[in-house]
Subunit: 158 residues, 2 copies
């Protein structure tokens, strides 16, 4: 084998390997995001403020309805702390569409949520809606939240 | 140069080229998403239903507050048509964070919006809030909306 043939062969092999790893990285990254999405929900279910906030990337933000943006882990801890103290508070969500870029460094989860709590009179209030969470792979390999946003399906003032 | 040395050299060159193109693709893709974000806003400003809906990818959805998800171009056309008919309707937005994956096939824009219209009594109603739009590069090279979601900064019932 001559040098030039060897170079061409190496390039062909690399092209195939990279194309295949790109495809695989996509599905693998999407699966990792889906897992992170559900691990995050488990931290909410456990009402663990520190654990839940730890899923937010540096500079990450939560965009809650009817409130200014909550920017950064410390502000998010305060916001979640308030939420977790609501009587009978329960939040679950179901990702219905999860995708990741071929490069496996950025992706999103989106879907539906159900939220309930008891008002001061003890009556259960039920909300349901939809969400989009943008996830970014961190230098340590973990997936963290860059932006999380949701809103209600129910008429305003419900 | 022996064949083995040629392969090693080719691989080193390719690694550097790919790493560099990955970096460039990111910034270039983010700039393309920022442009698409603002082109989309121009279609809203022109109250052009077909043009505005054309920015939505097949299977794409808009998640409006206090309404179920609006899925697909036809449903989005209907929704936008209603919005554009509101008296004095004006919607503008400003992307404050735009990022794209290294592979340049997926990214997002996020930021703030301002929305105003006149109610039946002729009084101007002002809303402001935040949004996240997930963009996906299409086979024809254009960027289209996979998910768009927003909510208000103002207290409920404002």
């Amino acid at each position: 084998m001559k040098a030039r043939e060897a170079i061409v062969l190496a390039m062909m092999v690399l092209t195939v390997v990279l194309a295949a790893s790109g495809q695989e990285g996509n599905a693998k990254a999407a699966a990792a995001i889906r897992k992170a999405d559900q691990d995050w929900m488990a931290a909410f279910a456990a009402k663990d403020v520190n654990q839940a906030a730890s899923f937010v990337a540096p500079g990450g933000a939560m965009y809650e309805p009817n409130a200014p943006a909550t920017l950064g882990q410390e502000a998010i801890k305060k916001s979640l702390g308030g939420m977790f103290q609501m009587t009978g508070e329960k939040l679950t969500w179901t990702p219905t569409l999860v995708e990741a870029a071929k490069s496996g460094d950025l992706g999103f989860s989106s879907g539906t949520y159900e939220f309930s709590f008891k008002d001061p009179s003890g009556k259960t209030v039920n909300d349901k809606g939809k969400y989009v969470t943008v996830w970014k792979k961190q230098p340590d390999g973990s997936w963290k939240v860059v932006r999380d946003i949701f809103n209600s399906d129910l008429p305003a003032g419900h």
